[in-house]
Amino acid sequence: MKIIIPIKRVLDPYTQARVNKQTQLVDLTNAKMAMNPFCEIAVEEALKIKENGAASETIAVSIGTEKTIDTLRTALAMGVDRAIFVNTELDLDLQPLHIGKILANIVKREDAQLIIMGKQAVDNDNNQTGQILSGLLDYSLGTFISKFQLSNDGKSTEVCREIDSGIETRQLNLPAIVTVDLRLNEPRYASLPNIMKARSKPLETIEISSFDIDISPRVKVISVEESGTKDRASKQVQSAEDLFSELSQLGVL
C-alpha cells in the first residue's frame, strides 16, 4: 500500500505575518519559511504506518516554486521514501480546488490507497483541501483525526475525529483520505545523517503545465490588512473584591 502525504511550505508559524503595502499581499520576501505544522504530523503518521509494516512506500507531494523543494527535502529527511515536486515556476495563487485537482491526478497515477494530510495550512487557514480531494476522487474521508488504526486485513481504518461535540469514531473503507489534527502524534526531528541521506532520495519534478487544469484564481484577493491583536489599556487589580467590583461596573457579571 502506497501512502501519499501532500505537504505545504508556509511562513514559519512563530513569525508574525506582515502586509507589503505596495503589493497588497502578505510579505514573504526573506521571511523564514517552514513545513506547515499539520503536514509534519501527517508525515509522522505515514512514517509510523510504514514502520509497522502496513505500507510499502511513503511519497510526499508539494506544489510551488523551486523553494518548495526544501520542504520536500525536510520530509525526505524525516524518513519519507520519495518526493514529487509540482513546479509552478511563478508564485501562483493556487487555491484548494486547484491543489485538489493536481493531487487527484497524482493519487490516481500512483494508485495510492491512503492520503494523509494536514487539516489546514496555517497561512490561508482554509481547511478545505482534503475534503475537496475526497470529493474529486469519491474516496472516504476522515477529517480532524486524533487517532488512526488500520484494520488487520488492510481494507479499512478506524479513526477518531475531534469534532465540536466531542470525539467521533468512524470506520473508513480504503482508499481513504484523512486530515490530521494536533493531537495525533508528536512529529520527529530529522537527524543529521538522515538530512544527508535525504539528498540522494528520489525527487521527481512535474511541470504544472503538464496537468490539464485551469489554474486561474476562482477567488481573488482584493486587499489584505493586518488586524492582529490590539493591545488594550490594562488596569491592574489586586484582589477578588477589586476584580468583581470592576466587572460589575463594566456590566459583564
Binding site: 508559524p13 512563530y14 508574525q16 484548494p96 480546488l97 485538489g100 489546514q120 497561512d123 490561508n124 487557514d125 482554509n126 481547511n127 478545505q128 475534503q131 475537496i132 480531494l133 475526497s134 470529493g135 472516504s140 474521508l141 477529517t143 480532524f144 475531534e162 469534532i163 465540536d164 461535540s165 470525539i167 467521533e168 469514531t169 468512524r170 470506520q171 473508513l172 473503507n173 481513504a176 494536533l182 493531537r183 484564481p217 476562482r218 477567488v219 481573488k220 484577493v221 482584493i222 486587499s223 489584505v224 490588512e225 493586518e226 488586524s227 491583536t229 488594550r232 490594562s234 488596569k235 491592574q236 487589580v237 484582589s239 477578588a240 473584591e241 476584580l243 468583581f244 466587572l247 459583564v252
Partner: protein, 308 residues
C-alpha cells in the same frame, strides 16, 4: 439570487452558528431557504420557526443519523442546483461537508467569512486572524462558511413551509462507530456570555477543577488553551484558538494562559478580557482590560470564596 442555508442541528435544536449564517444570508438576498439532513423529519419543526426562512427542505432518512460526509455532500450538491449561494455556520460539521460540495460543483468555497461587502466580496481571516483579507469570488455559485462570532444570531418567529425531499441516499464508504460526547451542564463555549479559561499554568487536571468551580460561580462556560488540552487537563472540545473554537463573549477570564498567537486569535474580539497570571510580560496581559498579577492558585481560591 437565492440562498440555501445548510442547517446544523444539535438534537432537534438549531445550532447558534446556523443562526449566524441566516443573519449573513439576509445581507445577500431575501430569498432564503434552509436545508436539513436528519434521521427524523420531526426535527425540521424548529427550523421552520426560524426568522427569515421561506422554505425548509428536509431530507429525512434513518440512514442520515451520523451520515458520512460523502453522502451528505452529494445530497447537498443535488439540492444546490437551484441556488446561487450555500451558507453554513463555521463548525466542524460544515467545514467537513462544504468543501466536498465545492468539489462536486467545481466551486472554490470561502471559509470563515466575517463580513459581507457585496454579493461576491467578503472578508475572511488568514494567518490565525492576524491578517484580514477582502476576497472576491468569480464562481457562479458561492459556497461559504461564516464565523458565528461575526454575525448576530437570528431568532425565531417565522413560519416557513416544510418541503420533504425524497432523494435516494447513496451508499456510504465510511461507517459511524461511536460518539463520545462531552457532557456539560455549563453554557456552550461558542455562545456563552462569560468564559473562564485555563492554561498550562494550572499544572494538573485536579487543579483545573478550580477553573470549573469559578465558571460555575459566574454561570460561565469553561475554555482552555491548547497547552492545557495537550497536557490532558481537559478534553479538546474546550480548546479556544485558531484550531479550536473562536469565541467573543462579554467576559473572557484567562487564568494561567501566556497567550500563544493561536490562542489570541480565538478570543481577541471578547468585550472585556481579564488576565490572572504571575507573568506581567506574557502576550496575554497586553490584551487585557484588567490584569491581576499574582499567584493564580491564591487568586482562584479568593475568587471562589468571595461571595458575589
Amino acid at each position: 439570487m437565492s440562498v440555501l442555508i445548510l442547517i446544523e442541528l444539535n438534537g432537534s435544536e438549531v445550532s447558534s452558528n446556523s443562526r449566524a449564517a441566516i443573519t449573513a444570508a439576509t445581507q445577500l438576498s431575501d430569498k432564503i431557504d434552509a436545508l436539513v439532513l436528519t434521521d427524523d423529519s420531526a426535527n425540521a419543526a424548529s427550523v421552520a420557526s426560524l426568522d427569515s426562512i421561506n422554505t425548509v427542505k428536509v431530507i429525512a432518512d434513518s440512514k442520515l443519523e451520523h451520515v458520512s460526509v460523502g453522502v451528505a455532500s452529494k445530497l447537498v450538491a443535488e439540492v444546490m442546483a437551484e441556488y446561487k449561494y450555500l451558507l453554513s455556520g463555521s463548525s466542524t460539521y460544515s467545514k467537513n461537508i462544504l468543501p466536498r460540495v465545492g468539489a462536486l460543483l467545481d466551486v472554490q468555497p470561502i471559509s470563515d467569512v466575517c463580513e459581507i461587502k457585496s454579493n461576491n466580496t467578503f472578508v475572511r481571516p488568514l494567518y490565525a486572524g492576524n491578517i484580514m483579507a477582502t476576497v472576491e469570488s468569480n464562481d457562479n455559485t458561492i459556497l461559504m462558511t461564516v464565523r458565528a462570532t461575526a454575525f448576530e444570531h437570528s431568532g425565531d418567529g417565522g413560519s416557513a413551509t416544510i418541503e420533504e425531499l425524497s432523494l435516494p441516499i447513496p451508499e456510504q464508504k465510511s461507517n459511524f462507530i461511536s460518539l463520545q460526547e462531552s457532557q456539560s451542564e455549563r453554557p456552550e463555549l461558542t455562545t456563552a456570555d462569560r468564559i473562564v479559561s485555563g492554561g498550562r499554568g494550572l499544572g494538573s487536571k485536579e487543579n483545573f477543577a478550580l477553573i470549573e468551580q469559578l465558571a460555575d460561580k459566574l454561570d460561565a462556560a469553561v475554555g482552555a488553551s491548547r497547552a492545557a488540552v495537550d497536557a490532558g487537563f481537559i478534553s479538546n472540545d474546550y480548546q479556544v484558538g485558531q484550531t479550536g473554537k473562536v469565541v467573543a463573549p462579554k467576559l473572557y477570564l484567562a487564568v494561567g494562559i501566556s497567550g500563544a498567537i493561536q490562542h489570541l486569535a480565538g478570543m481577541k474580539d471578547s468585550q472585556v478580557i481579564v488576565v490572572i497570571n504571575n507573568d506581567p510580560d506574557a502576550p496575554m496581559a497586553r490584551m487585557a482590560d484588567l490584569v491581576w498579577e499574582t499567584d493564580l492558585f491564591g487568586a482562584l481560591q479568593e475568587l471562589n470564596d468571595h461571595s458575589l
